[in-house]
Symmetry: C2
């Protein structure tokens, strides 16, 4: 029977800067009596990748520039936090009281450039967490470590939760991809009745991220690693950048 199993890997420890994330993931997988299989896709929450990469910023160290002060006044946000967000951004997409939507330097549009205070230890209230420097590269490194250590080729999707322009609620999206196509171009395939499909480029890595989001949760029970087993996908080395719709291609606005 055609089925996919999503397995939340238990016992992933709290990740700290400098931790060997891929090694800790393999240890958690083994400790749970799980074995990775060829074709598995590992969905990994961005936060643990960012923490392992030490992407913390202490707001006390930040001196806001004039644009940050202006945007802070317009949004009601901490000017130091705004400064950090702007440094992570290409441009401001939307700005209003309590809201700062930007195009992240990686190209995608999201709130606050993914800069996050939640799931950062309260012991340092001033600390915020940035996204990984290069999530596609992080995904490749994890995939290659696992291949080296276990001989098993897995796909890796580094995930985050994003809001959406026309729909309420956050959904999982892919920030980094390795070992699978991010976009599955099915244009030209016949449908049930032999028509040639139009416009059927599937956001495969985003659907993987959304599926994993069903298990990751956002809160106390958060499980940052999900094994996606049984997924059928074509060979290909996608990148999360493949999923970014440039403003020029934005047909929806």
């Amino acid at each position: 029977m055609n089925q996919i199993t999503l397995i939340a890997v238990p016992g992933v420890p709290h990740i700290r800067p400098g931790d060997a994330l891929a090694q800790l993931l393999l240890q958690a997988v083994a400790a749970a009596g799980l074995a990775l299989q060829p074709g598995d896709v590992l969905a990994i929450a961005q936060k643990v990748v960012s923490k392992a990469e030490g992407r913390f910023v202490c707001l006390a160290d930040i001196r806001p520039g004039p644009e940050a002060e202006r945007v802070a006044a317009a949004t009601g946000k901490d000017p130091r936090l705004v400064e950090v967000i702007l440094r992570e951004s290409q441009e401001i997409s939307r700005l209003r009281q309590g809201v700062l939507i930007v195009r992240h330097r990686l190209g995608f549009v999201s709130a606050n450039a993914g800069v996050d205070r939640s799931n950062v230890p309260q012991t340092d209230d001033e600390r915020v967490l940035l996204l990984p420097v290069d999530p596609d590269a992080s995904a490749v490194a994890i995939r290659e470590y696992i291949l080296r250590e276990t001989g098993v080729a897995v796909g890796v999707v580094i995930t985050d939760s994003h809001g959406r322009p026309f729909r309420l609620g956050t959904v999982g999206v892919a920030l980094g991809v390795a070992g699978l196509p991010a976009l599955w171009d099915r244009r030209g395939e016949p449908d049930l009745y032999g028509y040639t499909l139009q416009h059927t480029e599937v956001g495969l890595a985003d659907e993987v991220a959304a599926a994993a989001g069903l298990l990751m949760g956002q809160a106390a029970e958060g499980t940052p690693v999900v094994i996606v087993r049984g997924l059928q996908f074509p060979a290909g080395e996608g990148r999360a950048a493949d999923l970014i719709r440039s403003q020029a291609l934005d047909l929806y606005r």
Copy 2:
């Protein structure tokens, strides 16, 4: 172990107008040796619901009005098809050569109001398929039929594939919901370190639809029904309308 299994129900027959869809689904589930379990969520592709509801339109019967002629000229689409799309729409969101993005009468924004030529039998080349009249009501009816026939309370999500403003590739989204929350409002829950989460309203039904999309595919092997087993969710009777971000709430544009 915390896990979710996605099971593509095999052997769902081609659905025709007037077919008792819920009954055929139960027959396919039984024929596959599957038994529905309390808490299962059934993801059902919109197309089989629309077909069972006889939502076909013969373009030969359509006389385009002046706005349809104007939009057809601007997009290069068949004026009769455009007339059908406009009848299904509240307003035109975006219009250019080859592209017609509208706000569907149900409130969501999508290409061509979901009016589709693919997976419509070629025997009548002029036929197009509209979305269900009221997908939330269709989901409720299927859920109630299954509860009546089997005594098992399942969730139902009627799914479609949508493109997105800022990201390439289509992903599964929920058009109709019954027996589960469409939005899971987790604001106020503590995170790993006891912070109170902000802005964490999860698009649960959309993540279910995206996960099911991994198995449904778009093409010849399409499987229109997926059982989502093991999903943890709070009690609640959501509706797909809960997922629609009104223009007033659109922070992204």
